[in-house]
Symmetry: C2
DNA sequence: TTGCTATTCTCCAGTGACTATAGATTAGGG
DNA sequence: CCCTAATCTATAGTCACTGGAGAATAGCAA
């Protein structure tokens, strides 16, 4: 039954820095929390999870707009199936594309570390790995 | 035996916009190409691959510094095994962390699309999926 | 050759997502 | 009560682009 905690603790718990939390509130990613009598923000566990989610999603390279749509799935569970489905499917395609790129890069980095273990660096082919010509110029994320 | 192509064609081939190519040159991610008599940049296939690589890596959320170290593997194949190995291993850890996060998100999005197919949205748990408390506060990428 | 549009050039200002600083106020411990 | 740490608002700076202004050049058609 805690009455909530201040922004500093929210920051250290969520891994999102204090000014960034205020920034997220400003741009509407995080709802404005209640304040104390002396005007200080009071956070609870829900905003903590939301913050950590935003942090991870940003680290994965999603831009704020993508995160907004992801959070809208969470926030409006009553919205039309069609809308939620469209959002989920789009993000799913994007996520899968990212995974396959990362796995290709993973294999190449493994190969290099492996070669190193045997005493020689060999040519690095990271460029060839990711520089394949598959142009889907429709943006995939940011 | 083409004498190279101008920046516009390099842009459309690589998927990197013209001003962004000039920017990459400015910050030293892309070597300054030769110029024509009238001072226009002339690119070849190698720069093209490098550009596409940079584009993909940025889309995957690597920052310019990370890309710089990745490219350094490519650029100095003669460098010490220890150095190359360290870079490759670090990036590998990072890449794997990203992959596992993305796979968790993939599963949740699949579940949602799946639920939708059966007529109900259900609660969205994207937040719980990524908002786990595993704090490795050492930055992983950017 | 002349005319015309497209492309390139450099430089500089603007955007998105933070990140840091300044100055004032408040909280909480000794 | 005092003092340091945390918080507040507001503003400015950073990173990685992105777009615009204005001038020069390319390339093609008449």
């Amino acid at each position: 039954m805690s009455a909530g905690f201040p922004i500093g603790r929210a920051a250290e718990q969520s891994g999102v820095k204090v000014p960034t939390i205020r920034y997220y509130e400003e741009i509407g990613l995080l709802p404005a929390p209640p304040r104390t009598g002396s005007n200080r923000r009071l956070y609870g566990d829900d905003e903590l999870k939301r913050l950590a989610f935003i942090r991870h999603a940003r680290e994965l390279g999603f831009d704020v707009d993508a995160i907004r749509t992801l959070l809208s799935l969470q926030d409006n569970p009553q919205q039309s199936c069609a809308a939620a489905d469209a959002i989920a499917r789009d993000r799913l395609l994007e996520v899968r594309a990212r995974i396959s790129r990362l796995r290709a890069l993973e294999r190449e980095l493994e190969r290099m570390a492996d070669n190193c273990a045997h005493g020689h660096v060999g040519e690095c082919r990271v460029i060839e790995i990711l520089a394949d010509g598959t142009h889907e110029h429709g943006r995939l994320g940011d």
